[in-house]
């Protein structure tokens, strides 16, 4: 006989097969993820349920019998009550699972849905995207310490005592060493009393000796022995302090239609998912504005209607105010996304430019401006004139590589625009 140790063999023998498999499933993963995005709330997207991928494109078909036709026979174990001639209602689902054997070589597995976990699907989703300027902030990161469960240990502080584990050990030991139980002793004492009452002294004497033996036994076998005691063990793992806040700025004046808001919502969703990939904790601040700006909750942000003029600078001011009050830049990475149809009160654009260039952009990691159209052409045709805001922001853009602006008019463009904004190799404004 030879013994060969194969453990040092190179790892990842299946890696290339796995990559081939994922490449094949890619189209389905993407469509599943996009379906999911459509339905969920901004903050739910990233930590939602898992997305199951049907095995359409990755099915391995083979000829097999249909279970819904003809006459089949099964021999199955475990008969309890049936006699010959009994009728059994067909198991629900009509597939007749009772006794139907899966094919032995595993080819019956086509029915399974291979589930990518959240991490896997987001990885795939964002595989060629990258956060701009991630490096800058990560240099400043401070490290905090997290406690992580790491099994059990026999030493530790009383506060970490694992009662379940300890009692389990204690019970197992008591059972295996046959420690007399309290009620057994009690029953014995009663029996002695009864025997005495009956006058059966000899039997009482015997029982007494037995009782003494048992009592001695229960003394030398303690209820809880130091051997049984277990403590929860925790490891200390350093974690980078990565917290991010995402400002969602949106114009909600009358000129923004529902369709435009929906587009904006999708964009915000993507950004949120993307951020929680990179940061442990992401705050979202919703700021809506007409001629004045206010911080609101998500529901109000997307679904309530407002009327009024449009003064964009108010939103930027609000954002600065909140950032100064709650999100100091030494602890927070600030991202902002602004969605608007491009309308602005004429004299305000200049102020926007000053605010944006002078105060907002210096504290932001990234600022994306998305101009949503109604899909009817409008400024997207390139023939009509640019909107006020677009022109104003256009002045700022060249000087700041972390400021980008894009136009979107149709849900199908959202992902490609997003992709463009965050694709690896830098942002092209």
């Amino acid at each position: 006989m030879n013994i060969v140790d194969r453990r040092p063999n190179p790892k990842g023998k299946s890696l290339s097969n796995r990559q081939r498999f994922l490449a094949r499933a890619r189209a389905e993963v993407k469509s599943a993820v996009q379906d999911a995005l459509r339905k969920r709330k901004v903050a739910d997207v990233g930590h939602g349920e898992k997305v199951a991928i049907p095995t359409r494109g990755i099915a391995e078909p083979s000829f097999h019998h249909s279970r819904r036709t003809g006459r089949a026979e099964h021999v199955v174990p475990g008969n309890k009550e049936y006699v010959r001639g009994d009728e059994i209602p067909r198991p629900t689902g009509g597939e007749g699972r009772s006794g139907s054997q899966g094919s032995p070589d595993g080819s019956g597995e086509d029915a399974f849905e291979f589930t990518l976990s959240k991490e896997e699907f987001l990885d795939m989703f964002f595989e060629d995207l990258e956060l701009p300027d991630l490096v800058k902030k990560s240099l400043k990161e401070t490290f905090a310490v997290d406690l992580q469960r790491a099994g059990y240990t026999v030493t530790g502080s009383p506060a970490n005592l694992s009662i379940r584990r300890t009692m389990r050990n204690s019970m197992a030991r008591r059972i295996s060493l046959r420690r007399p139980k309290a009620w057994e002793l009690e029953a014995m004492r009663e029996a002695i009393d009864k025997a005495r009452a009956r006058g059966a002294e000899e039997e009482a004497e015997r029982l007494l000796r037995e009782l003494e033996r048992l009592e001695h036994r229960s003394k030398i076998i303690p209820y809880i022995d130091p051997l049984d005691v277990r403590y929860n063990r925790f490891d200390r793992v350093p974690r980078p302090n990565t917290e991010a806040v995402m400002f969602c700025l949106m114009d909600v004046s009358g000129s923004m239609t529902e369709a435009m808001k929906d587009l904006a919502k999708r964009f915000f969703m993507l950004l949120h998912v993307f951020l929680i990939r990179r940061y442990r904790h992401v705050d979202i601040v919703f700021i809506r504005h007409t001629s004045t700006a206010e911080e609101v909750d998500e529901e109000t942000f997307f679904y309530s209607r407002e009327t009024g003029g449009t003064v964009v600078s108010t939103a930027l001011e609000k954002m600065l105010e909140i950032a100064r009050a709650r999100y100091p830049t030494d602890r927070w990475n600030i991202y902002a996304a602004q969605a608007s149809d491009g309308d602005n009160y004429g004299a305000d654009s200049g102020r926007c430019v000053t605010l944006l260039g002078g105060e907002v952009l210096p504290i932001c990691q990234y600022f994306a401006y998305v101009e949503v159209g109604d899909g009817m052409g409008g400024s997207l045709t390139g023939l009509s004139r640019d909107s006020d805001l677009w022109r104003a922001y256009g002045e700022v853009a060249p000087a700041h590589s972390h400021f980008v602006m894009r136009r979107v008019s149709d849900p199908s463009q959202i992902f490609s625009v997003f992709h463009e904004l965050f694709s690896k190799g830098g942002v092209r404004a």
Binding site: I3, F63, G70, P89
Partner: protein, 524 residues
């Protein structure tokens, strides 16, 4: 084990110290255990095995091995990645433990054992795989007839390299298309009857390499430019004669779809034929395993049980190890009832082990019923001999038909239900009573019969003069048709290989009536 108690007590007096104590294994310990197991297996059970190579692997490598259908090397294909992802998901979620071992029908017999196993488990694994399975592989007639244990590893390594070379030359996508299609037909790429010579995989490999070298050496691009090469006009009579000739040559009807495609598909290139051949030969290699799964596991489980028991009797393993072994053994041979949520068919380990033990019981302590049912072997006293004979000469189907005793039917409380899709309810046809034993036995045997379990599909005709359509027939028994969606998908794959359209007729085997027709044109 009351019957061996006194004997074991006597033996233990002169017994050696246990082979190991504690859960950790090491190489010298493994060797000691192997030697002890080998002595029992060869001298006391009379097993006959290939030389063994034990390979220690990690759990990740075990998952790798799962993915490539248990073979140590395999060509690359996405479906293996899918299998890996599937098993990995289950394993990581804790829904499925990993096997303790994988054993390969090769010479020397390669036996993978996991590093996480305790010494007791390693002992069990060596007894189970390195002796139980190994004996079965070496002696069972199906394996002897259909597989070439000496050549398989070299052939697999050739296959892997060949597929890789094809990918380099023709692109991964083109290779994948052929392999996908061939995989879809692989269950129908086996010869079910021995009318060809035993495979010799070393020869195979040399053949393929020579052919490639030859075609490279004689390749001349000029031939491509000769106008009308190979398209000389023939007179109609000669064409007709040639047609008949070809049809006869095709040997129709043919049930080995991949064989026919490999030899006759009009539009395949040589490398594509070779890929089809690789899939076909590997499929053929697994064919005996599919037919003997229950026996094979039964044989291995029975062997490990006997060997462990004897090791214990000799005092070579401690009481603690024995308990650990019994715990794992009893979960392996656990058979949930049909109405149990854990039920997924008959457990081959449970039925196999029970039948093997039962045969031994019949030989050694028969009841009157056994004498009536098994006059040849009841009371013969040579349980191991009868078992060795059964292991060598039966497959699941015939084994059940021959050896399933009423005692077993009672013990498993087997019952036979028929499921007629035209009726609203299932009907119990037989249970474990005098009237039912034979019925259950033959029904269970049919259930293990691969040629009934898999659809009966044959190539019946090729329209050589017309559109070269390949015509397949599925012979329908008991009205059970093919599952429509997958059937369409497979025919599409068949059309990819054949290059022209493919038609499948569902023909009732009893009346010869065509029940349903599928037709698929080739892609592109």
């Amino acid at each position: 084990m009351p019957d061996t108690h006194s004997a074991s007590a006597a033996m233990r007096l002169e017994a050696a110290t246990p082979l190991f104590s504690g859960p950790n294994w090491d190489y010298t310990g493994l060797r000691r255990v192997y030697d002890a197991v080998e002595r029992i297996a060869l001298d006391e059970l009379g097993l006959d095995v290939y030389p063994v190579q034990v390979e220690v692997i990690t759990s990740e490598q075990m998952l790798d091995a799962y993915a490539s259908v248990g073979l140590p090397l395999m060509y690359r294909h996405w479906s293996f990645g899918k299998r890996f992802a599937y098993h990995e998901t289950l394993y990581r979620k804790g829904l499925q433990g990993l096997a303790y071992e994988i054993v390969i029908n090769s010479n020397p017999c390669i036996c993978y054992i996991m590093e996480e196993n305790s010494m007791t488990m390693q002992t069990l694994v060596i007894a189970h795989a390195a002796f139980g399975h190994n004996h079965f592989f070496k002696n069972n007639y199906l394996f002897r007839q259909w597989t070439d244990a000496n050549g398989i590893l070299d052939y697999l390594s050739f296959a892997r390299d060949y597929v890789q070379k094809c990918e380099e030359r023709h692109g991964a996508e083109a290779v994948e298309r052929v392999l996908d299609a061939a995989h879809a037909l692989k269950d129908h790429g086996v010869n079910r009857y021995a009318h060809r010579t035993k495979p010799n995989l070393a020869e195979e490999r040399r053949r393929a390499e020579e052919w490639r070298a030859h075609s490279e050496a004689t390749y001349n691009d000029l031939w491509r430019t000769v106008p009308g090469a190979g398209k000389d006009k023939e007179d109609p009579d000669a064409a007709e004669a040639r047609l008949q000739e070809i049809k006869r040559e095709l040997g129709l009807p043919e049930e080995n779809l991949l064989y026919l495609i490999e030899k006759r598909a009009p539009r395949l290139e040589d490398w594509q034929r070779e890929l089809v051949r690789i899939v076909r030969l590997i499929s053929q290699y697994f064919y005996p395993q599919k037919q003997t799964q229950m026996m094979n596991e039964g044989c291995a489980t029975f062997c490990h049980y006997e060997i462990m028991r004897r090791l214990h009797d000799k005092g070579l393993i401690t009481e603690g190890s024995m308990l650990e072994f019994l715990h794992s053994h009893s979960s392996v041979v656990f058979q949930p009832d049909f109405d149990d949520p854990r039920f997924s068919g008959l457990n081959p380990y449970a039925l196999g082990f029970a039948m093997m033990s039962d045969i031994r019981r019949i030989c050694e302590e028969p009841t009157d019923e056994d004498r009536e049912w098994f006059p040849d072997i009841a009371g013969s006293g040579d349980g191991y001999g009868v078992l060795r004979h059964a292991w060598a000469n039966y497959r699941d189907e015939s084994f059940v038909l021959q050896y399933l005793s009423p005692a077993m039917i009672r013990r498993f409380r087997l019952f036979h239900v028929s499921d007629d899709s035209t009726k609203p309810a299932l009907k119990v046809e037989a249970i474990h009573d005098d009237v039912g034993y034979r019925k259950i036995r033959s029904a269970l045997s049919r259930q293990y019969d691969l040629s009934r379990r898999e659809p009966d599909i044959q190539v019946v005709d090729v329209d050589l003069r017309g559109d070269r359509c390949l015509i397949l027939a599925h012979y329908v028994h008991n009205g059970v048709l093919l599952e429509e969606k997958s059937c369409r998908a497979v025919i599409r794959h068949a059309a990819t290989l054949w290059g022209y359209s493919v038609k499948l007729l569902e023909v009732d085997a009893a009346t010869d009536k065509t029940l349903k027709t599928y037709e698929v044109a080739p892609p592109g």
